[in-house]
Each structure stands twice: as structure tokens, then as C-alpha cells.
Symmetry: C2
Subunit: 180 residues, 2 copies
């Protein structure tokens, strides 16, 4: 998918500047882009050219002017259309599995170390995700249903990490038995 629908969604929730969008992308997990300027500012330009969004320039003293973008009627119907029809499979990229595939060339200790390192890494990510979840709890939602959906998004990410953690612990335990 394109980042453009994510931007359209964010702006439908709250009109923002490119700079604000950047920050949202930076600390969101499910909006999986890095939030680099190139992508955001170019997408905003393109969406505006396509009539999906419009902007209002806000002059501020003390800090630079900014463009606050909001979604047009056309943009809203395009967004809804995408939400209903889009059917994009999730992508799971786990370089660790590739490491593991050729890890038979490692010693017992090296392999155990590899697994431990991965376990620690996933633990860290799970903790981070929990912190993000706690922070998001204070966000104002528009409805009880939306609150539920946003909760479920966080739950999804946490259970993904949790499942990965459960798996790596099982691998470690079983391997310990195999290598006496």
C-alpha cells in the first residue's frame, strides 16, 4: 500500500501539518513508515494535486509558518472506498529466521547466544509497545467503537511480539534438550 492512505486517515482524524504527521509516523508501530520528510511532503503535494486534501497557511510569530492540511469530501470518500475494498496481505520479514536457517554451522554456545540475543531484542520491543499503548490511552477518541478498535490495534502488535517471544523460548528449551 501507499503511505498516502495512512496520511489521509490521519488527516481525517485531525488536520495537521507535515511536521506533525512526521512525528506521528515516527512513534507509531502500526504506521510502519519511518516518517521521513521526502515521503511526507511529496505525498502531501500529490494528495493536494489530486484534490484529496487542502491546506490553510498559518502564520505564527516566533516560529515558521505552517500548512495545516485537511481532507476534502473527495478525499473522504476515497479513504472510505480504500478501507472497504483494500485487501493487502500482511508482510512478515524476519531476518532472524534466515540466520537460523544456516545456524547449523555454529557451535552449541554460539547458537545459544544467538537465541538469547533474539529473545532479549523481542522482549525490548514488547516493552516499548506496552509503553506506547499506555501513552495512547490518554488520546481523545471520537467514539466508544473507535476506542475499542484502537485498543485492538495495540493488542494485535503486543500479541505478535508475545507470540514471537513464546516461540523463541520454546526453541531454546527444546534445543537444550537436543544438545543434552
Amino acid at each position: 500500500m501507499t503511505i498516502q492512505y495512512a496520511i489521509l486517515g490521519l488527516l481525517s482524524w485531525r488536520p495537521s501539518s507535515g511536521y506533525e504527521l512526521k512525528k506521528v509516523f515516527e512513534d507509531s508501530t502500526y504506521l510502519y513508515w519511518s516518517g521521513n520528510n521526502n515521503q511526507i511532503y511529496k505525498s502531501l503535494l500529490q494528495l493536494q494535486k489530486d484534490g484529496m486534501i487542502q491546506y490553510e497557511t498559518i502564520h505564527q510569530d516566533g516560529s515558521p509558518s505552517k500548512k495545516i492540511y485537511s481532507v476534502t469530501a473527495k478525499g473522504m470518500s476515497e479513504l472510505k472506498e480504500w478501507i472497504i475494498t483494500a485487501k493487502e496481505a500482511p508482510e512478515f520479514k524476519k531476518p532472524f529466521l534466515i540466520q537460523l536457517a544456516w545456524a547449523d554451522m555454529l557451535s552449541k554456545e554460539e547458537l545459544a547466544g544467538l537465541l538469547t540475543k533474539y529473545e532479549k531484542e523481542i522482549e525490548g520491543q514488547l516493552i516499548q509497545q506496552k509503553e506506547k499503548y499506555d501513552r495512547e490511552k490518554d488520546w481523545p477518541n471520537r467514539s466508544q467503537r473507535e476506542t475499542f478498535l484502537w485498543n485492538m490495534i495495540s493488542v494485535n502488535l503486543m500479541s505478535t511480539y508475545q507470540s514471537e517471544l513464546t516461540w523463541v523460548r520454546k526453541v531454546r528449551a527444546q534445543l537444550a534438550r537436543i544438545e543434552e
Copy 2:
């Protein structure tokens, strides 16, 4: 990470031609590249230029000549070094979560439909994964340990899909309760 380490790994397991590698990538899930020519043939060229692999041209009558690549000593130590030191976080890209984030604008029926569609899709992917796992069972492995590791890779992918499935079913059930 680069596809080059994946290629190095595959060649360390069994010397192959670009064409053979392409097929392996095409029906592997954990080797998450599409297996397009451009990437494979360019990587082979690069790896050879870097002294990681070497090739032997096999002339065949009836079908075109092919280059069978194998890993050099330098390539083997580079591969091992990467396996031990690489620390790349897994990437989870789920466009569905972005759809869900703005799905509060949908009717009860539209939202239910969205969830059902996703559930079916994940079910399909889980079945496919199980089939691949069954096919791989017949592959010749070099050791009991390698057999174990390769099994665990399949288990990882299946439990990822399974966890996603469990989650979407829970969302559907809870949502049904919220909307009476």
C-alpha cells in the same frame, strides 16, 4: 538486510544456478523476496566480484548452459560472521491495522465484512504455510540439528499466522457484543 546473505546461505547448503535460486525464493515464505531476476542475477555478479562465490559453467545439450555457483572459503566465513553478529529487528507490516484505525466511519455491516474478509485471508495463508511445511519435510537435511532448526522456522511462520487468526476472531466476537 540484503538478499545477498540469503543467497550465500542457500549456496552454502547446495550449489545452484540463478534459475534454481529464483524458484527457491518464489516458494519460500521466510526468504521474503519475490525472487525476481534483476535482484538475483545482479547479486550473484556482485558476490562473485567480492570473492564470496565462484561459478562453473555447465554446458548441456537440449537446454541452455548454466552457471552453477558455490561459496568460497571467504564467503563461508563472511556468512558465519553475519549469522553471529547480525541483529536486525523483525518487520511487521499490516495494512489491515491501518484500515481498522479509520474503520469507525463504516457501518456495523461494513466493519463486520472487513473483519470476515481478513479472517478468511489469514486462514488461507495458514493453510498454504502448512502445505509448504509438508513439502519441506522430505528435503534432505545435513544433521538432526538442522532438521530441528528448519522445523522451528516453519513452526514460527505458522504460529505467526495462528496468532493473527486468534486475534481477528477475538475482535469479531468482542465487537459483536459491543454492537448489541
